[in-house]
Structure formats: structure tokens, C-alpha cells
């Protein structure tokens, strides 16, 4: 018996597809949780990061805060939130938002700061408002780095979203936990391979997006 062969056999077994506990269903759940967490974190982190990058104010405080958030063990956060909110997807979702936050924030302010100062000054000189400056110059110029932050956050979340199964019937983590606990390692490893495959697909998609954002930056003379 070999572990990886068994895991692949487990994935390709038709009996594990379809229905409420099927691989297809769990993949969709996993994607939804990942998107929801990254989107929620982005709503919080991106405007904040762009504001910091644009004004240069509050950087130290927010960076220290983001560092502290990064240090919070997700397992501990999840158990505390679970005890406060009960079972279900809420507690894991909040824990995942906290996980995605620092990378998104860092990407946003680094992206804006990285925008070519010459271009920004030129735009200011031709009379652009601060809002126009941010939306038409700094964000397009920083898009590459900002998307890099989103990409890093997505990779972290898609792997850690397996923890959602700790207290809810959600996602590919179900295969990890039940495989581990019942010593069915083919199932556990199959879950891990599926998560890694999902991460790869997401990462390739984001890489393509990132590339697509680049020609814009090249049109701006520096």
C-alpha cells in the first residue's frame, strides 16, 4: 500500500462525488468560504491600506497592529470565537478574516507607496484632486503589488479554511479531520491534495489577473 496512490484512488472513486458530502460539493463550499473571508478582509484592509499609503500617516501603528494580528494563533482564536458564538461558520469565518487582514493591508500600503512619485507629483501638478490621484494614478500604479497582497492572503486562507471543519460541516477540512481521527489516511491525504490543487488553480488565476494589470502601469511614463 502506498499513501499517495491510495489518496489519488480515493479522489477518483466515483462514490466520493455527488451528494451533500461529495467532493464537488465540498470544493464549492471551500471556495465560498475562502472568497467570503478574503472579500470581507479586503473591504476592511484595502481602504485602510490605501489611506495609509496615500497619507503616509498612522503607518507604524497599523503595521504593529497587523503584526500582532499575524501572531494570533488561528487555533486559539477559533476556539475562543467558537465558545462565544457557538458552532457554525461564523467563528471560522472571522478567524479567517483575521488571517487574511495583515497580508492585504501590507499589500495595499506597499502598493500605493511603491507608485512612482514622479507620476504622482506630475498628476498633482496638472490639477488632479486627491481622490483622482488615488483612483487614477496610485491604485493603477500599485495594482501589481496590491494584487500580490490579495494573492498571498488567498493562498493562506484557502489552506487554513480547512479549520472551518473544526466546528462546522463545511469545506474540504472535513476530509482532513475525519481521515485523521479515524486513521483513514487516504482520505486525509486526498483532502490535502484537493486543497493544494484548489490553491494552485486560484494562484494561477490571480497570477493571470496580476499580469493583466501590468500593461496599464507600463503606459504611464516614468
Amino acid at each position: 500500500m502506498n499513501l499517495f496512490g491510495d489518496a489519488l484512488a480515493w479522489i477518483t472513486d466515483g462514490a466520493h462525488w455527488g451528494g451533500p458530502g461529495g467532493i464537488d460539493h465540498r470544493v464549492v463550499q471551500h471556495l465560498l468560504v475562502t472568497f467570503a473571508a478574503v472579500a470581507l478582509a479586503a473591504v476592511l484592509a484595502l481602504p485602510l491600506g490605501i489611506l495609509i499609503g496615500h497619507t503616509g500617516r498612522g503607518r507604524l501603528v497599523v503595521v504593529a497592529l497587523a503584526g500582532a494580528v499575524r501572531a494570533v494563533p488561528t487555533l486559539g482564536l477559533l476556539t475562543l470565537l467558537g465558545l462565544a458564538l457557538g458552532i457554525g461558520i461564523q467563528a471560522p469565518l472571522i478567524a479567517l478574516v483575521a488571517l487574511a487582514f495583515p497580508s492585504l493591508l501590507a499589500g495595499a500600503y506597499a502598493g500605493i507607496e511603491a507608485a512612482d512619485r514622479g507620476a504622482v507629483d506630475a498628476a498633482r501638478a496638472v490639477g488632479m484632486s486627491e481622490w483622482q490621484l488615488v483612483t487614477r494614478v496610485e491604485i493603477p500604479l500599485g495594482a501589481d503589488v496590491i494584487l500580490g497582497g490579495i494573492r498571498a492572503a488567498t493562498l493562506q486562507v484557502v489552506a487554513t479554511a480547512t479549520l472551518a471543519a473544526y466546528i462546522s460541516d463545511t469545506g474540504l477540512g472535513r476530509y482532513l479531520f475525519s481521515g485523521l481521527k479515524s486513521r483513514q489516511y487516504d482520505q486525509m491525504l486526498a483532502g490535502a491534495l484537493l486543497v493544494a490543487a484548489l490553491a494552485l488553480v486560484l494562484d494561477l488565476t490571480m497570477a493571470a489577473l496580476q499580469r493583466a494589470s501590468r500593461p496599464t502601469t507600463r503606459k504611464v511614463p516614468s
Binding site: 503595521v63 503584526g67 487555533l75 499589500g107 497582497g149 493544494a196
Partner: protein, 217 residues
């Protein structure tokens, strides 16, 4: 506070275990990532392959990795080595790209000047490239340090003791003080190591007034 008072020795013991697991993992991550980053910077074509594979490893969920590593290396599951290897893999994956960027950040004119002054290839690496790469490298090392310290806690799920044990035990016994101690202890350790790194950065790059805080990872 009464829980902490009664269990001071236990908490300190777990803290010590936590340090013993995280520090070697961080050091290995830095060493491997710097070598990979140097390779990637020097030979960009091979480098992109290396960096691509490294970032892919980061997407493997941690729990299965803890089960697979003992199979690959033939070490016991509950050995601290298993966790150190797993964390070193993540740390390297996280840092290799930054390390390549760090070498890329060294001003080419400085390097040319050093070459003109007769620095050997090794001298160029040790006396010019590495010191000048430190600021960018350090921002990456800080991220790796903090996330490694936080990740050590999952060892508790497979019987590798750390502050993570306070999380699982406090959870089972519904002792919030214990869980909070575990969370805060982990954060405190991360912040302490981070502060040490910042101080170290000031020492090794005396020409810089201040070190940059964290970059896009």
C-alpha cells in the same frame, strides 16, 4: 489570574518548548531561503522554477503535512523534528521570494564599484550583497518569525507540546484564562522575537537611520 498563578511552571515549560521549536525552524527557513533567493537572483530562469515550487508548498494545509513528513523522512510523528521541518518548509516558502527581491534591491552601481575596487566573488557576496540586502530580507524574516511562532501551536493537535497545549486543554476544560494565556503568550513571544530582529537589523545596518517595518509578503 489564579489559573496562571497555579500553573506558572507549566506555562513556562510550554513557553520554553515553544521557543525550542520555533527558533530552529526560523533559522533553517532563513538559511535555506537566502540560498534559494541567491540562486533565483543569479539564474533567473532556474530561479522562477524554484520560487514557483516554494510558493506552492505554502498552500499545503499544515495538519496533513505533519503526518506526511514523518513518512518522507522516517522520523517519529511526535518528534519535535517533524514540526520543525514542517515549519521550515512554510518559512522557506514564505521567504524565498523576498530573499530574491532582497538581492535584486542591491544597487547595481554599488556592486560595479565594489567589483572595480577588486572585491572577489565571495567578498562581493559577504561584504556587499548580503549586508545591502538585509533591509528587505529583514522585513521578510520578521513576517516568517511571527507566523512561525503562531503556527507552532498546531503541534498540540498531534502531541508535540508547546503553548498550543494551553489552547487545546483550556478548550476542553472550558478554562478561558488558559486559552487566553496561550494566545497572549504566543503573541508575546512573537512580538519579543520581532523586536529582537529589529534591534539586530539596526546593529548590522548601522548606515540606516531606521529599519522598514514589514513589507508586502
Amino acid at each position: 489570574m489564579s489559573w496562571l498563578d497555579a500553573n506558572r511552571d507549566y506555562v513556562l515549560d510550554m513557553l520554553l518548548q515553544h521557543v525550542r521549536l520555533s527558533v530552529p525552524a526560523i533559522v533553517i527557513s532563513v538559511l535555506v531561503a537566502v540560498v534559494l533567493g541567491r540562486v533565483a537572483w543569479r539564474w533567473p530562469r532556474a530561479g522562477t522554477v524554484v520560487l514557483g515550487s516554494a510558493s506552492l508548498l505554502y498552500s499545503v494545509p499544515a495538519l496533513p503535512l505533519l503526518i506526511v513528513i514523518p513518512v518522507l523522512l522516517g522520523i517519529p510523528l511526535r518528534s519535535g523534528l517533524t514540526l520543525v521541518v514542517a515549519l521550515a518548509v512554510y518559512g522557506t516558502a514564505l521567504l524565498a521570494g523576498t530573499a530574491a527581491d532582497a538581492f535584486g534591491s542591491v544597487d547595481a552601481r554599488v556592486r560595479e564599484a565594489a567589483e572595480a575596487m577588486g572585491y572577489s566573488r565571495a567578498g562581493l557576496l559577504w561584504k556587499v550583497d548580503l549586508p545591502l540586502a538585509v533591509p528587505v530580507l529583514l522585513s521578510g524574516i520578521r513576517v516568517v518569525t511571527v507566523s512561525t511562532v503562531s503556527l507552532v501551536t498546531i503541534g498540540a493537535l498531534v502531541g508535540i507540546p508547546s503553548l498550543g497545549n494551553l489552547l487545546t486543554d483550556g478548550f476542553q476544560r472550558d478554562i478561558r484564562a488558559e486559552i487566553v494565556t496561550g494566545v497572549l503568550g504566543t503573541m508575546l513571544l512573537a512580538v519579543t522575537l520581532d523586536a529582537l530582529l529589529v534591534a539586530l537589523g539596526r546593529v548590522v545596518t548601522p548606515w540606516r537611520a531606521a529599519t522598514p517595518a514589514g513589507g508586502a509578503s
